[in-house]
C-alpha cells in the first residue's frame, strides 16, 4: 500500500489518512464580496502539478500539510501546519 509520512506518527499506510482539501487563503469574512466567497468555497485550481494539501491522520486526529504531485502521486514533503501558519495559529489565520 502507498505510504505517507505523518509529521507526528512517521510512515503509515495511506488508508490511515483523510484528504482535507487544498491549502488556500480564506477571504476576510467582513469585506469579501459574493464572487470572492463563491470562489473560495466552490472554485479550485485543481492543478495537475504539485499542490499543497491538508491531510489528517485519522487515528490520532492530527492535521498537517503535504506537498503532493497530482500527476505522479509522489508525496514530496509533509510537515506540521505551524510551518505555514506559525506556532499557536488560529483557524482564521492565513497561510504564509
Amino acid at each position: 500500500m502507498k505510504m505517507m509520512t505523518c509529521p507526528l506518527n512517521g510512515p503509515r499506510n495511506i488508508s490511515e489518512f483523510a484528504y482535507g482539501g487544498e491549502v488556500i487563503p480564506e477571504p476576510a469574512s467582513d469585506t469579501v464580496d459574493d464572487a470572492g466567497w463563491a470562489s473560495f468555497v466552490f472554485l479550485s485550481d485543481n492543478s495537475a502539478g504539485v499542490v499543497r494539501e491538508w491531510w489528517c491522520h485519522v487515528p490520532t486526529s492530527y492535521w498537517f500539510i503535504a506537498e503532493r504531485h497530482r500527476r505522479s502521486n509522489e508525496i514530496l514533503r509533509t510537515y506540521p501546519a505551524s510551518e505555514v501558519f506559525g506556532a499557536g495559529a488560529q483557524a482564521k489565520d492565513q497561510p504564509a
Binding site: 500500500m1 488508508s15 484528504y19 459574493d34 468555497v41 466552490f42 472554485l43 479550485s44 497530482r70 502521486n73
Partner: protein, 413 residues
Amino acid sequence: MPLALLKRALLGSRVKDRQFIWPGDLKKSYDVVIIGGGGHGLAAAYYLAKNHGITDVAVLERGYVGGGNTARNTAIIRSNYLTPEGVRFYDESVRLFQDLSFELDINLMYSQRGHCTLAHTDAAIRTMRWRAEVNKHLGVNSELVLRDDLAKQVPLLDMSEDVRLPILGALFHPPGSIARHDAVAWGYGGLASHRGVEIHQRTEVTGIEVEDGKVTAVQTNRGRVACGRVLQAVAGNSSEVARMAGIRLPITSIPLQACVSQPLKPFLDPIIVSGSLHVYVSQTPRGELVMGGSTDPYPLYQTRSTLEFKEELMMHLLELFPFLSEVKLLRQWAGTADMTPDFSPVMGETPIRNYYIDAGWGTWGFKATPVSGKRMAETVATGKVPDLIEGFRLSRFTEFDLVGEKGAASVGH
C-alpha cells in the same frame, strides 16, 4: 438493423459510409473548434453539422478518438435522478439513446435491462420513494419495489436478513440500459466526418488566445488555428484546459476505478446499484460483470489501479452475490472523474465570449452523451443556452444557485 445487414450482404456493398474520413493538415482557421474528441465532442460535432448546417468544424483530440473517459465508464444509461433539472436532462438523453443505433447506423448494443438502486435502511426507502415520485411527476418510469418483488426480479440477490445491511427494497427504473460506449463515439465521429467535420487526432491544444474577452484562436502542437467559436469537451482534464483560457472551474479531478470479471452464464438482467455498499454491477451481453464503486479517496490525475479499490469493492459485491467469490477478474482500469460540488455538470457559456464549456461530468458523463452533444451544438450554433441546460450554467456557483444532485452515482446518500 438485420434488414440493413441482409441488404448489404446481397448487394455486396461495403460499410464505407461508416468509416471515418481522416483529414490532412490543419486549416488556418475554422468556424468552430471543438477541443476533445470523445463522445461529447464528437456528438456536438455531429449535431452542429446535422441540425445546424455548420460543417466548418475541427475536432482536436490529444490522443485518439474515444480513448479517454468515453472508453472508461461503465456504460450505464438511466434518468432516475432526484432534481427536476437532472431528471429532465437525462430523460432526453435516454430517449435519444433509444433510437441512436438506427440514427447512427451502428450497432450500439443498446440493451434495456432495468436499473435497481437498492435501499438498505428506512431512510434510503424514503429517498427512493422521493426519487420515484419526482421521476413519475416528470414522466419518467420509476417505482419503489419492496423485498418480495425484488427477490422475484433478481432471484440470485442475497436477501438474507442476518447480514450487515439487509436489503429492504429498491428504486426500480425500467428504462435503465447499457450500451457499447466506444461505438457511440465511433458512430457520431464517423457520421460527422462524412458531413465535413475534420477530426484531428494526436493534436493537443497548448494555448488559447483571447482578445478583448473573446476567444480568437487556439495553439496546438501542429500550429495555430484561428476560430470563431470554441467548445471545450475534455472530461478528466477540464481544469487544465480551461486554465489556458484563464477560467477557474468548480472541479476536482478524482480517479474512478472499475473492473470486469471473466464471462459467466447470464444470471443478472437488471443493473444493480447500492449507494450504501458503494457498488454497482451489470452483466454485459458477453457475460462479463462490469463493476465499479466509489471514487478514490483523494484527487489525482492518473489512471492507475489499486488493490485497496478491488478489496473494498469485492467485499461489498460479495454481500450481494456471495456465490461470486471464486470468480476471476479479467481487467481493471480507471478514468479521471471531474467532480463538481453539487454533482451536476457545467454546461454553456463562460466569462470568455464564444468560448463554451461542457465539463464537470464526474460519474455521469456517458449517459449524457447524446443530449449534451445536441444541446451544446444548439448553444454554440445559436449563441443561446437552451432552457434544458440553463440550470447547469457555470455562473450558478457565483449566484449560489446550485443543483444538488444526490441521485448521482458514487454519492453517499
